[in-house]
Every structure is written in structure tokens, then in C-alpha cells.
């Protein structure tokens, strides 16, 4: 608002790499005019802790003091350490202030000329930050997600122009294949292979879809990434469109993510304005357009065939595969569906080369993955780590461990299709294969830490209730089986179940897992199976001794069958 000067004057289109470099230089010049740039985090956690007021207070105070030419106050993206919200970062001073309220405004402004305020600053060299490797969340918190120029100034869209002018579609796919990138939605299907299947499909009409229907309870990575790096995702999608031969893309976002929807819509407009979307992008024959589709709140939409049904305007019912969307997807045309984060990796891979990417991570799981750390852990928030990091490093070094002298019990990964991993397995590395071998799942990246006050039967029941409520109802095992499994778990938590019920529970899990139509039903028994595997003693305690050892299903040590005290 205060910087509508000549640098930002006429909107120009970007048709070549020179145009792009010019735009980047102008933006850098603009930012360099300021002595300090202040970014106020506008993530969900910070906003709910009052960052909007902080932004207002800082802006108006700067104005009152007539310092608009010296200091730029911008809304910024999420810094990651949400437990210290609201956060303000200052550059190039390189300070991160935590737990800021409008009362701190004067102090912060006063310190801009001198040295940072120790008491308010957060150690941005701590292992929470130092242990992370950032690709998708590069320039964390330092980009104004509303402005396309901010992204261009840090090299944005150079990958798009590079592929359009220097690479053939098959070279792009080759590069992605060589990088070893695998789908970040959870299942880990090789991205290059998916792209080449769609590219090979013989159809003049193809589509690219970004799955941003992040439905796992306890996962907010996609929300964050879309809110903060919309341009990076859209650049990835556009490159994908070029590689597979599509001219239309859809970003399917959950309705609950209203900020993400607005940011992506704004980003599409800005890209269109600069001719980075539309016809003849980069003066080539490549045409590509993007639209946002807002989901109606159904977890099953994470399943690609259901998501397609939803974009087509119907009930989001999955359909049996084959045919896969790559052959027959949206309106019967070949369709590429990738997760938000998968697209977030594309531009960096093109920019830095597949070898650079393949050097990060493990043998089979390359690159980085974002995780949402939450639950009973000190540093809740969003982190990005190289695959192969161990769970222990994640929870104790980055997450800071379990607070208040409580004891770590389990970490839940993979959402409703995932599992609970106990202390004894914490040295396992975070990658697709190792999590699967532990009966869990990479999933989209939710990581919920539980301490000894959580009951594992209760947790399993929670997930089963979720799956039963989110089952689309099309296939019988998922529609009815999840209800029976929930009822059995409920019976166990009330201390009323028998050992026969336990074997019926196991048998039902087998049926639902192996006969359900889609991933929702097939994965639904996982939380039960993994807790049965690692925490069977808790099930036995509920059934044989009729007590809940954690004290979550009823007062600790008390017979669960005893009716609650009626006053």
C-alpha cells in the first residue's frame, strides 16, 4: 500500500527469460530501498493469535512516524513454529520475534535501527530450524504470497521458461523421473512414471489436477504450502501441463481452506496478467489455463477417482481402477493428478537439476517432505525435512519432545489410513518403505504425538469413527464394516467386550482392508491393526481387567463398566 512507486508501475507481460530477469531486478531494487523488511506471519495459527492486529499496529505506527520509506511491513507466510504465534520476522536484520502483540510495536520499531530485542526473539538457529531442509518451503515466511513479483525475485518461473524454451516434454519427464520424486499425497507412486503414462495417452484433450483436498485430520501442510507458495505450485502444474500435453488444469481445494482459495485465485490472476498463463506462454505454442474448484467437505475426495467425480459436479464416489485417471479421468480424458507438495517440488528440480534432488533423502525415497507436527509436543508447527530423518530426530530434536514432564507414548502418522508407532521404533527412518513396514503410512504428512494420557484403543476408535463418517457409502465393506468395527471398539472402551469380540474385530479388519473399493476403506483398519500390534496389552486391559490404563476411557484404575456417577 505504501510502495506503489514507479518500480511497480505498468504491468508488463513476461514473454522471455529477459523479461523475467528484468522483473526480478526491479523487485529486488524495490526491496533494497528499505532498510528493513518486516514480515508478519499470516498463517492460521498466527492469525488466530492476533497477527492481523499486529500487522495493523505496525503499519499504522510506521506511518505515524513517517518511516514508510525506510521500513516495509508485509503480510508473510507461515514460519513453521506455530506454537510461538504470532511471529514477526525482520530482514536483513535476521530476527524472528515470537508471541508478539500490538503492545510490542514501539519496541520492535525502536530496535530496527539498533540491535534486536533479546527477550522477544526466538532462536532461529535452534535445531527446530537448523535440522530442516527446505525445498517446498524455501524462503519460508519471506515472500508476500499475494505478490507474484516476490516470487519472481527469488527465481520464480525461471523453470517454466526453461522447460518451454529449452526442453521437450519428454526431456522434462526424463528429468522428473531421474530425480526419483514420488507422489507426496502419501502412496509414493513415482511421479515421472505417472507423468509419462499421461503423456503417452493418445487424446487431444488432457487435464492436470492438483489435489489440495487435504483431508487427513491432523495435517495442514498443503494448506500452508498453498497459502504461502501458491506461485510455486501453479508453476509446477504448468510445467506438468507442458510435459503431459494438457492445456487445462484444476486446483481442487477444500472449502475450509478459504485463505488458500483466495491466494490461489489471486495467483492465477497475476499469472494471467503477466501472460504466464493463457495462450502462447513464453512466446511458444503452449497454451495452458488454470481454475480453482472448491471441494464440498468430503474426505473421500482425496481419492483421485472421487475427486474427479466431484470436479464433474457429482457425488464424490470413487470408481474401480482400472481404468486409471491417466487413461480415462476427468470427463473421460487422460488426467494427471498430483498432490500440492508434489507440484511444489517440480520447479526446484528443473532449476537445480534432478541430480541435486536425488542427492537428498534415501535410496528409494528422494528429496524432502513437509510434516505437520502437532499433539503433545513442544514445538508444534510445519517442518520440512530430508526423507530418511529418523522419527526420534523429528520428535525430540526438531519437535523438542513431549512437554510438562509427561512420557512419550506413540506418534501417529499417515492420517486415518496410518498407524501409531511406539517409542521402541523411533529410530526408524521417515520414508515410504520404512513407515509401511511399521504398519503405518507416509500419508500426506500429519504427525501427531501422543503422551501417556492417550489411550490407544480410544485413538483407534477416534479414527474409525472418522472413517465411518467419511465413507462414501458405495461399497458394502467400508459402509457397514467401519460401523461394526467402531461399535466393537466402543464396546471395548466401555469395558464390555469379550475376547471373542477381539477376534471378530481382527476378522472384520481383514475383510474391510482387503475388499473395500478404494483407499479409504482399504486403509481404515490400519489404526486398529497397528495399535493391536504395538499396544495389544491396552486392548487386553480393557477387555479382561475392564480398566483403561491411560485413564482416557474412564477414571484411571476404575472399572469401566461402573455407571458414571449421577449427581
Amino acid at each position: 500500500m505504501n510502495a506503489n512507486n514507479l518500480n511497480n508501475s505498468k504491468a508488463q507481460t513476461i514473454r522471455s527469460n529477459d523479461d523475467l530477469l528484468l522483473c526480478a531486478e526491479r523487485e529486488k531494487d524495490r526491496q533494497a530501498q528499505y532498510k528493513q523488511n518486516l514480515f508478519v506471519c499470516m498463517g492460521t495459527a498466527c492469525q488466530s493469535c492476533g497477527s492481523t492486529e499486529v500487522l495493523k499496529a505496525l503499519s499504522s505506527r510506521i506511518k505515524d512516524l513517517g518511516l514508510e520509506k525506510d521500513y516495509l511491513i508485509s503480510p508473510g507466510g507461515c514460519q513453521g513454529n506455530c506454537s510461538q504465534a504470532p511471529l514477526v520476522s525482520v530482514h536483513p536484520q535476521n530476527v524472528l520475534y515470537q508471541n508478539i502483540s500490538p503492545q510490542n510495536t514501539n519496541d520492535i520499531i525502536g530496535s530496527l535501527k539498533g540491535s534486536p530485542i533479546k527477550e522477544l526473539s526466538c532462536d532461529n538457529q535452534s535445531s527446530f530450524f537448523a535440522r530442516q531442509t527446505r525445498i517446498v518451503t524455501e524462503y519460508r515466511g519471506l515472500l508476500n504470497p499475494e505478490r507474484i513479483e516476490d516470487y519472481i525475485a527469488v527465481g520464480g518461473f525461471s523453470s517454466l521458461l526453461k522447460v518451454l524454451t529449452q526442453m521437450s516434454p519428454s526431456q522434462v519427464i526424463q528429468e522428473i523421473t531421474c530425480s526419483g520424486l514420488r507422489g507426496r499425497g502419501g502412496a509414493g507412486y513415482p511421479t515421472g512414471l505417472k507423468w509419462s503414462t499421461v503423456a503417452k495417452a493418445n487424446d487431444s484433450q488432457k487435464y492436470v489436477i492438483c489435489n489440495a483436498d487435504e483431508g487427513d485430520p491432523g495435517a495442514f501442510m498443503n494448506r500452508n504450502v498453498l497459502e504461502d507458495y501458491p506461485y510455486k505450485i501453479l508453476e509446477g502444474m504448468t510445467i506438468a501441463g507442458y510435459a503431459v500435453g494438457a492445456n487445462q488444469g484444476y486446483v481442487y481445494v477444500r472449502a475450509e481452506y478459504d485463505v488458500a482459495v483466495k491466494r490461489v485465485e489471486n495467483a492465477i490472476k497475476n499469472m494471467q496478467r503477466l501472460a504466464l498463463l493463457g495462450n502462447s506462454i513464453g512466446n511458444t505454442s503452449f497454451n495452458f489455463n488454470l481454475e480453482v474448484r472448491v471441494g464440498g467437505g468430503a474426505f473421500v475426495c482425496g481419492e483421485e477417482t472421487a475427486l474427479i467425480a466431484s470436479i464433474e459436479g457429482g457425488r464424490a464416489l470413487p470408481s474401480p481402477r482400472p481404468p486409471y485417471p491417466a487413461e480415462s479421468g476427468l470427463w473421460g480424458h487422460p488426467t494427471l493428478i498430483n498432490n500440492v507438495e508434489t507440484y511444489g517440488h517440480i520447479a526446484p528440480i528443473i532449476r537445480n537439476g534432478s541430480q541435486w534432488f536425488a542427492n537428498i533423502g534415501t535410496q528409494k525415497s528422494k528429496g524432502t517432505k513437509t510434516f505437520a507436527l502437532s499433539g503433545c509436543i513442544k514445538n508444534t508447527g510445519l517442518v520440512e525435512v530430508a526423507l530418511g530423518t529418523t522419527l526420534r530426530e523429528m520428535i525430540f530434536d526438531i519437535g523438542g519432545g513431549v512437554p510438562e514432564g509427561r512420557k512419550f507414548k506413540a506418534v501417529q502418522t499417515g492420517g486415518p489410513a496410518g498407524g501409531c508407532i511406539p517409542e521402541s521404533q523411533l529410530d526408524a527412518s521417515i520414508d515410504y518403505e520404512s513407515l509401511k513396514s511399521l504398519g503405518s503410512f507416509m500419508g500426506s504428512g500429519g504427525m501427531i504425538v501422543m503422551d501417556d494420557s492417550s489411550c490407544m484403543v480410544d485413538v483407534a476408535k477416534y479414527f474409525m469413527q472418522f472413517c465411518a463418517a467419511e465413507s462414501c457409502g458405495k461399497c458394502i465393506p467400508c459402509r457397514v464394516g467401519t460401523v461394526h468395527i467402531y461399535d466393537l471398539l466402543n464396546k471395548i472402551t466401555k469395558g464390555e467386550a469379550s475376547l471373542e469380540d477381539l477376534s471378530q474385530l481382527e476378522s472384520l479388519c481383514d475383510v474391510v482392508q482387503n475388499t473395500s473399493l478404494c483407499g479409504l476403506g482399504q486403509g481404515a483398519p490400519n489404526p486398529v491393526l497397528s495399535t493391536l500390534h504395538f499396544f495389544k496389552d491396552e486392548y487386553i486391559a480393557h477387555i479382561v481387567d475392564h480398566i483403561c490404563p491411560a485413564g482416557a476411557c474412564g477414571p484411571k484404575g476404575q472399572d469401566l463398566r461402573r455407571p458414571a456417577c449421577v449427581l
Binding site: V300, G473, I476, R479, V480, G481, V483, T515
Partner: protein, 235 residues
């Protein structure tokens, strides 16, 4: 289109590569249980009874949608499959209120005969006893949701053959239920042509003709293939 050879239950068979395992099996008198599938209607793939083993795949495949390929080896029966089919049919019995003895389709019901063929003599899962209201507002037909297994044959026949799309499924998960128009009484429906096709294709006693008493409702689902054939010939 090509002719392929494959093995089903140790029998060497041939079929066209645009046919499904179910079609080839049926043509060779190999029974695979189904409830949602019906010749002449689009494939639904929701009942999961026709799951079969295909050698070389860890996952079970629905015979109704899986196309045959050259050299494919299929097993349609095993202890494991039987357990799964058994449990799925039990699930259907617990989901609704199926009282065979007083049902109009007693003795003419596909759910009942499937259970019998699978050797089900009791239901070990707990019944859910939902509370559902019968819609007898239509002048000729009755819809009893207690007996509905959500195979969606009625929805598909109404949409695909009659072209009225009076029926659809509302809600989701265990709360899924059939509706006519905007969940209005069937008798008030503005789109229903009273053609009765939904009644004919219903595998249970959920849709039936008024005035039929216990065991009197006999369905004729096979008429569909005839209609389909006639339409093709007209084209």
C-alpha cells in the same frame, strides 16, 4: 478386439479382450456371486462379492470390471474369498431390517439366495436395527427402505434405460439412502413415469408392486437385456 485364452479355476477358457472376467465365467457356467451387477446396466462395482484372485496380483479384483487378458489365471473360489463374501452378505443383513418370513420377495430374493448359496445359516455380526419409514405413496408401487441393500440398480435403470433419473442416493456412509426427487414422497414425484423398471430390477423386496403379499412378488430383471438389444437394433 482380440480373442484371448485364460484360466479360470484350472479350466482353460477363451474370451474376447473386451469382456470382463465375470462375463467369460458366466458364459462358461462358472458362478461368481454378484448383487449390484446386472446385464444391461452400467457397472457399479460396489457389492464386492465378485472379488476374485488373479495370479500375480496381491490385491483381489472385482470380476465385474476387470477385463480378461491373455494368459490370465483366475481363481473364483477359496476359503479366503468365501470368508469375505460371507462377511459382506452378513453386513447387508445387519445393515437393514431383513425379515425374510414376512417379505413379499421371500423365495424370490437375490440377497436370500446369495446367503443360502454361501452357506450362511446365521448372522454373527450384531444387527444395527435402523429406523426407516416405508414409502407407500405411489399408486402402484411401494418402497421399503428396510430391505434396500443400496445396489443402485434402480438408480441406474431409471437413469440409463428409462431416462427419468427419479431415484438417486442421498447422504453418505451408513446414512446413505435412496430418494426420489428432492427426498419427496414417491407418489408426489414429478419425474417418475411409473414405468416400474426399478421394481423389476430390485434384487430384494425393497421395491414391489402394491397388493402383493408375502412371497408373491416375482421380479423379471432379465427383461433389461431385451430392451437393450432392441435399442441397439433401432440405432
Amino acid at each position: 478386439m482380440r480373442v484371448v485364452t485364460l484360466t479360470i479355476n484350472d479350466q482353460l477358457l477363451s474370451g474376447r479382450d473386451d469382456e470382463t472376467i465375470l462375463q467369460v465365467a458366466k458364459a462358461h457356467n462358472i458362478q461368481i456371486p454378484t448383487l449390484c451387477q446386472l446385464d444391461g446396466l452400467s457397472t457399479w462395482g460396489g457389492c464386492r462379492l465378485c472379488l476374485v484372485h488373479i495370479h500375480g496380483s496381491d490385491k483381489l479384483s472385482p470380476a465385474c470390471v476387470t477385463k480378461v487378458t491373455e494368459g490370465m489365471v483366475v481363481e473364483t473360489e477359496s476359503e479366503r474369498l468365501n470368508k469375505y463374501r460371507h462377511t459382506i452378505v452378513e453386513m447387508l443383513y445387519t445393515e437393514g431390517n431383513h425379515i425374510c418370513s414376512v417379505c413379499v420377495s421371500n423365495n424370490n430374493c437375490e440377497l436370500q439366495s446369495t446367503a443360502q448359496n454361501l452357506g450362511i445359516d446365521h448372522i454373527s455380526l450384531p444387527y444395527l436395527y435402523p429406523s426407516r419409514t416405508v414409502d407407500a405413496s405411489h399408486e402402484r408401487f411401494v418402497f421399503d427402505p428396510n430391505r434396500c441393500i443400496l445396489c443402485t440398480r434402480c438408480v441406474r435403470v431409471c437413469d440409463e434405460i428409462e431416462g427419468a433419473h427419479t431415484w438417486d442416493v442421498a447422504g453418505r456412509g451408513i446414512n446413505s439412502h435412496l430418494i426420489t426427487d428432492l427426498n419427496e414422497a414417491w407418489g408426489e414425484s414429478t419425474s417418475c413415469t411409473s414405468c416400474g423398471k426399478c421394481v423389476e430390477v430390485c434384487p430384494t423386496g425393497s421395491l414391489y408392486e402394491k397388493g402383493k403379499a408375502g412371497g408373491e412378488m416375482v421380479k423379471h430383471a432379465e427383461f433389461l437385456t431385451y430392451i437393450e438389444e432392441m435399442r441397439k437394433n433401432h440405432k
